[in-house]
């Protein structure tokens, strides 16, 4: 069963790994990924982001079908990964390994 709406089937192979419900999971995935992996994910998603956001916008936030929620979570992962790819060229911001900064609550989805 596909995780994403059929319009975004080319992103389907990425969804299992990157459609993650919470920032905590997305951050952990970023920290444990190589920059090459994240670059590949970023390159696949960025041409689709505009259409993907527009697709999610068709639904009220509290009535989104599951596949649209998965797509939104994939966009959140794109946001998370963009910092590593566009700025740091490594998973974490340079000179920040001494600190853990936990997001303890967030609006869902």
């Amino acid at each position: 069963m596909a995780l994403l709406p059929s319009e975004f089937s080319e992103l389907e192979p990425l969804a299992q790994r990157w459609s993650l419900a919470t920032e905590r999971e997305r951050w952990a995935e970023r920290m444990s990924s190589s920059i090459d992996d994240m670059q590949a994910f970023y390159d696949a998603v960025i041409p689709e982001v505009g259409d993907a956001i527009a697709y999610c916008d068709k639904f009220p936030l509290d009535e989104m079908p599951e596949d649209a929620v998965n797509l939104l979570r994939l966009i959140y992962s794109f946001v998370m990964v963009s910092f590593a790819v566009e700025l740091w060229r490594q998973p974490y911001p340079p000179d920040t390994l001494g600190t853990k900064f936990e997001r303890i609550s967030e609006p869902l989805p």
């Binding site: 527009a54 999610c56 959140y76 794109f78 946001v79 920040t96 967030e106 609006p107 989805p109």
Partner: protein, 422 residues
Amino acid sequence: MARYPKPAPGSWTEHYPELGTGTVSYEDSISPEWYQLEREAIFKRAWLQVGRVEQIPRTGRYFTKDIAAANTSIIVVRDGDDVRAFHNVCRHRGNKLVWQDFPNEETSGTARQFTCKYHGWRYGLDGACVFAQQEGEFFNLDKADYGLVPVHCDVFAGFIFVNFAEQPAQSLREFLGPMLLGVEEYPFGQMTDRYAFRVECRSNWKVFSDAFMEFYHAPVVHVGQHPSQLRAAITQMGYEAPHYQLDGAHGLVTTAGSLHRVWDMPPENVKPADIATRSGLFGPWDKSDLGELTPGINPGKIDPWGLSSFQFFPNFAILIWEAGWYNTHQFWPTSHNTLVFEGNVYSLPAKSASERVGREMAAVSFKEYSLQDANTLEATQLGLESGVIDQFPLNDQEVLVRNFHRATADWVHTYERELARG
């Protein structure tokens, strides 16, 4: 080279002559003895922000807050229109009254009464003891004498403040003063989309706060947040604020909106993900309409206005952004060289997925730069604790840092004088 006019004496610092312009010591940030004085003089006497009324919207909703600097935990509970605070301690054998799974962690929930996990004593939302297990076994026990110990509690603009003094020297509003009262009409209560962060850090609470009172560090520590081709120019340009203001121990710094107008920049100078999400380091590009704001939000009348960062002495800050959102910082010491930092990003409830995506970008940016701050401040603490240097210069963009250390020392010295008088 000043880009913005300074007050008549020539600098913001000299505009407040009590500050002086000399070098300063950070002995106050490395001394365990000084920290013990701060606990008594400040954290047990000043009004402390502990949360928002939206966290406890209905009767019986409560949260606990552990305040190591005051050596206590409190229960903050809604009872009708009232918000009350009590020390979180059972009157029978001193057990911490409300906790879940971990005695040393905070919790929240809904209750009709608070029941002690140890011997089952129960307390009403007004703190009254309403049940003592096997009451007849006690000796002349009058439950009326065994209510929860109340903590002074008051609400300003939906922010809940407590004060551990037996009798606070000032009401909350007197303590806040006119500059901070100026934010009262901001629609904080409508802005319920909340991203909350927490970090335990190895630095003194003031050393950590210092970095959130000045933007002089921003073009250095945070320059990497910008596309690489801009970095050298951003660092070279440095940072100047168009407006600083002090009101006693409290402070304000305003930034200019021109810095924030990313969408006016050539696209090659903007991160592609920012363009894709219409958001970034300075928050979502599309402004949330909050209606007209009261003048107190931008007391320096800076135009274009970007951000007002209101520093609530001793350990809280509200940053109100032109784009229609706000965030808070809070610095809770846990020892002379450790603290818990709490950060929140608040917006109007998102109406669409695209709004949520913009806020996600803003919230991730907040984490990226706060990580840079937090880690740097551990390094600052290490440097200070070496004791090699005891006097440090501060520039005019660091005027709030200068005032903050002066104010904490004032509070400690006032306390010591009162103690000496007996």
